[in-house]
């Protein structure tokens, strides 16, 4: 009984920081509709800034003052980010901003590394709260009790701010109807900045307040990001009470999970999230997202048509050049080109469902890594030959996509995206924690191609044929009735349904198709590397593909592979430098600001201006 109570209290204490971070994210999303991937980074900054302040400020007042100050400083950093990075891209196409926030993550990671170094910092203990209290014979840290007491005050203050003050009323109005606030004569951009300050300050507070429990390290940003997203989604995007309840549920569950089912800790919160979303597709307290609420900003997407002769010639010439790499280039060039080709197919598969179907998936790595693991497991345990394994990899990934798609497509928009993320994480934790079979963190190794394909050159040509073939297949699918029906479902589900199109089913098929295509890439990947590790299923992998699709251009047909090729090539070059994340992050932010239509979209404009391409027949 005592142990049970003690664990419950630990869970409640952990919920404090989680709630602060989550409510900040929720607030930002509610008002600006930006999915702030960088929110974990602000949490991390809060911890580091708080740590430094605690070194200088003495005593109890200094400790709490440091936490408060850390929140304010992080809030101000958030304001800088909002003004410099996000303001220029508010008018960019839907969800494009999240790419910018991804750039911010990279930048903050390296800046933190530069300032505070790579070593983990042990958080100082709170003056006056260093001891433990015995409750039913179980020791409970005093600081935990303090946190349990403080969190409701923070929640209450936030609630008061939102529901009782004029600012809060504006914020709430903006959450419900952004246009209306503009009509009320309120300066919308300063409202956004204000909300960003508040949201980031909360994240910073959360980071600082957990210092005595968790310290500060460079992995904090991604580590908390998943839990925070899960909390916000379970609670319902934009709902404060929802965030609080969900933070408590997740934290308590985690504590009990660690003691009673240690194998399941990573999976547990995703299972809860999936169950909640199956019964309440918009979270516990969330409201249905009205389609089109985000507002299609930017130019309307153009009709597609098969490439003209000139472009085909250009592509053919490019392919010939690619085919010459083994003749002209080095062994290194072959390997790099193989990597890039595989990544391009992966990106193109996501681009198909995202661009044509409007299905924004945060967890596409599930199918890339899934395909890779299917092939690796088959080789390891059944001595399957490469050829067969490469066929079964997309089948396995496709099958997974059928199941996962069925669940995820019950929700839409951000909730859909979060569900896909959850499933990718689920698969990742499965692979990670089921070490007996999957090798866990050590991965599966010694998975080499058949003898005939074992030279780098032959494998390069194999990858060239399969990946280019796959990309062309995806492209053709976009021009086929299936691709058109998928686009119809995205453009106007209402009309499509009134035209005999089962929109959910067509999206489901597209999801499975894209999953299978990613599986092909995954299968190739294993044999090119000879091994596979859980990080092929990681969030970072999914985000890579997502970023690439946006950078390449969502509203173009070739955005996926062009983005993939540019990104991989640039990344390969930059990773030779120490602070490559900083450079890559700044580059991403730069592209987002300068070329909001993505690389292909901007090139197309340029091509039209110089007369290489025919301009669209209609200009607005």
């Amino acid at each position: 009984m005592g142990l049970f109570l003690a664990q419950l209290l630990t869970g409640l204490a952990n919920a404090g920081a989680l709630f602060m971070v989550a409510s900040g994210l929720s607030l930002i999303f509610g008002v600006t509709r930006i999915v702030n991937f960088a929110h974990g980074s602000f949490y991390m900054l809060g911890a580091y800034v708080g740590y430094t302040l605690m070194q200088v400020l003495p005593g109890m007042v200094g400790f709490w003052g440091a936490i408060l100050l850390a929140g304010i400083i992080v809030g101000l950093i958030g304001v800088i980010v909002e003004i410099c990075v996000l303001r220029p891209v508010y008018s960019a196409p839907e969800l494009f901003q999240l790419v910018a926030t991804f750039g911010v993550i990279l930048v903050i990671q390296d800046l933190t590394l530069m300032i505070w170094g790579a070593e983990d910092l042990l958080g100082p203990r709170a003056p006056g709260l260093k001891g433990v209290v015995r409750i039913l014979d179980e020791p409970v840290p005093q600081y935990d009790l303090a946190l349990i007491a403080i969190t409701p005050f923070v929640a209450f203050a936030l609630w008061y701010l939102i529901s009782k003050t004029r600012v809060g009323i504006l914020v709430r109005a903006a959450t419900q109807d952004r246009e209306m606030v503009g009509a009320l004569g309120v300066n919308q951009s300063w409202l956004f900045t204000g909300v960003f300050f508040l949201g980031c300050a909360l994240a910073g507070l959360g980071g600082a307040v957990q210092l005595p429990k968790g310290g500060a390290d460079l992995l904090m940003d991604f580590n908390i990001l998943t839990s925070v997203f899960v909390v916000v989604v379970i609670g319902g995007m934009g709902s404060l009470p929802g965030a609080y309840l969900a933070a408590v549920i997740i934290s308590v569950l985690n504590v009990f999970g660690v003691s009673y089912m240690p194998q399941s800790t990573l999976v547990l919160m995703f299972v809860v999230m999936v169950v909640v979303l199956i019964f309440r597709p918009f979270g516990l307290f969330g409201k249905e997202e009205v389609a089109g609420e985000h507002g299609q900003v930017g130019e309307p997407e153009r009709p597609i048509k098969p490439a003209g002769l000139r472009v085909r010639m250009l592509v053919l010439a490019g392919l010939v050049l690619l085919g010459l790499i083994p003749v002209l280039g080095s062994n290194f060039a072959e390997v790099l080109a193989t990597d890039i080709l595989i990544f391009c197919l992966f990106a193109a598969s996501l681009h198909f469902m995202l661009g044509q179907g409007g299905l924004v998936s945060f967890g596409h790595a599930a199918f890339f890594g899934g395909g890779a693991y299917v092939a690796a497991l088959l080789v390891t345990y059944a001595d399957t030959p490469m050829e067969l394994a490469m066929v079964l990899a997309p089948l396995g990934a496709g099958l997974a996509a059928v199941v996962i798609g069925w669940v995820c497509l019950r929700s839409t928009g951000v909730y859909f995206a979060m569900l896909t993320l959850a499933f990718a994480q689920l698969l990742w934790s499965l692979v990670f924690q089921w070490g007996d079979i999957t090798g866990g963190d050590d991965g599966l190794v010694n998975i080499w191609p058949s003898a005939w394909a074992s030279s780098n050159t032959v494998f390069f040509y194999l990858a060239l044929v399969i990946c280019v073939g796959g990309i062309l297949l995806l492209r053709h699918a976009a021009h086929s009735p299936f691709g058109y029906a998928l686009r119809a479902a995205r453009d106007s589900a209402r009309q499509a349904e009134a035209m005999g199109i089962h929109t959910k089913r067509i999206q489901w098929v597209a999801f499975a198709f894209a999953g299978a295509m990613a599986g092909i890439a995954g299968g190739l990947f294993v044999f090119s590397k000879g091994s596979v590790f859980p990080n092929e299923l990681e969030i970072a992998r999914s985000f890579d593909a997502l970023i690439v699709v946006f950078l390449g251009g969502v509203k173009t047909l070739s955005g996926g592979w062009v983005g993939g090729a540019s990104f991989e090539a640039v990344k390969d070059y930059l990773t030779r430098f120490e602070y490559w994340r900083l450079a890559l992050g700044l580059l991403i932010i730069g592209v987002v600001i300068l070329a909001p239509e993505g690389i292909v979209g901007s090139l197309r404009k340029l091509g039209e201006r110089i007369g290489f391409l025919n301009a669209a027949e209609d200009k607005r």
């Binding site: 021009h479 009309q495 349904e497």
Partner: protein, 267 residues
């Protein structure tokens, strides 16, 4: 003559509001039937229930004697019902002719086909349909740049693509210039006459209604208050009161057709 559409005690409540309250009527083969009523009378709600976008809280809809309540819009469409929306719903990333082709592709059950180029399928037929509504010259334009009136005509072509037996048109002429309205209703009347289609439509422009409708029903606050020929409706004192009381005159210039419109999307 036989009834194509029979509606029995159809009702729909939104919380305390009875948007449609015990409405019964039938639509004969080849008939052009108008459903009129002031803003918020429940016309769109009624259409949404006929086409399956909304589930009724009570009542029955029969198509050629077969019960269709509870079916999804796509199933009702396959049974030969076409509709246009009060607020146009078109595919803005496609060209005008592709919008019509999409409907033809679905009609021929080829939406899962991955082999052919979609823009080559049924193009001739789609162009012929566009020609009927006078849009052939704009066939290859980008749908997103069309004028509102043109979008309305495109929607009609789309709705006609699968040769429906029953056509439901929710304010087909909203947002159009007066001359365009008359032309479009004339066109609809011709289609009804020539192709044996039955048609139910709503319309705020009384001149248009009186000129073309075979029969008129009046809806007010969810209830059907009148159902009769053009002359009966014109002289019905109750109808006059609803319209005059609502500040609405039988005069297109003062009609509320240009007022902001709302439409419930399907679930």
């Amino acid at each position: 003559m036989s009834a194509v559409l029979t509606v029995e005690h159809l009702s729909r409540a939104f919380g305390a509001i009875k948007a449609v309250d015990d409405v019964s009527f039938s639509l004969e083969q080849g008939e052009l039937l108008a459903l009129i009523g002031p803003n918020g009378a429940g016309k769109s709600t009624c259409f949404n229930m006929l086409m399956g976008q909304l589930k009724p809280t009570g009542g029955l809809v029969r198509l050629n004697g077969e019960k269709i309540t509870g079916l999804a819009p796509r199933q009702i469409w396959r049974k030969g019902v076409g509709r246009t929306f009060q607020i146009t719903a078109t595919y803005s990333s496609m060209t005008v002719v592709e919008n019509v082709q999409m409907s033809l592709i679905s009609h021929h059950r080829r939406i899962y086909s991955m082999l052919p180029y979609a823009h080559r399928l049924y193009r001739a037929r789609a162009l012929a349909l566009l020609d009927t509504v006078g849009m052939a010259d704009q066939a290859d334009r980008h749908c997103a740049v069309l004028a509102y009136g043109d979008l309305k005509r495109l929607e009609l072509a789309v709705a006609l693509a699968h040769e429906p037996k029953l056509l439901l048109m929710d304010e087909p002429t909203a947002g159009m210039a007066p001359r365009e309205r008359i032309a479009l209703m004339q066109l609809t009347a011709d289609i009804v006459r020539d192709q044996g289609v039955s048609c139910l439509f709503t319309e705020h422009d009384m001149d248009v209604v009186f000129a073309h409708a075979h029969r008129i029903m009046v809806l007010n606050r969810g209830q059907l208050i009148a159902n009769g020929t053009v002359d009966e409706i014109r002289n019905n004192p109750q109808v006059q009161e609803v319209y005059l009381g609502g500040g609405m005159l039988f005069n297109p210039a003062d009609g509320p057709a240009g007022t902001p419109e709302r439409e419930t999307g399907h679930a």
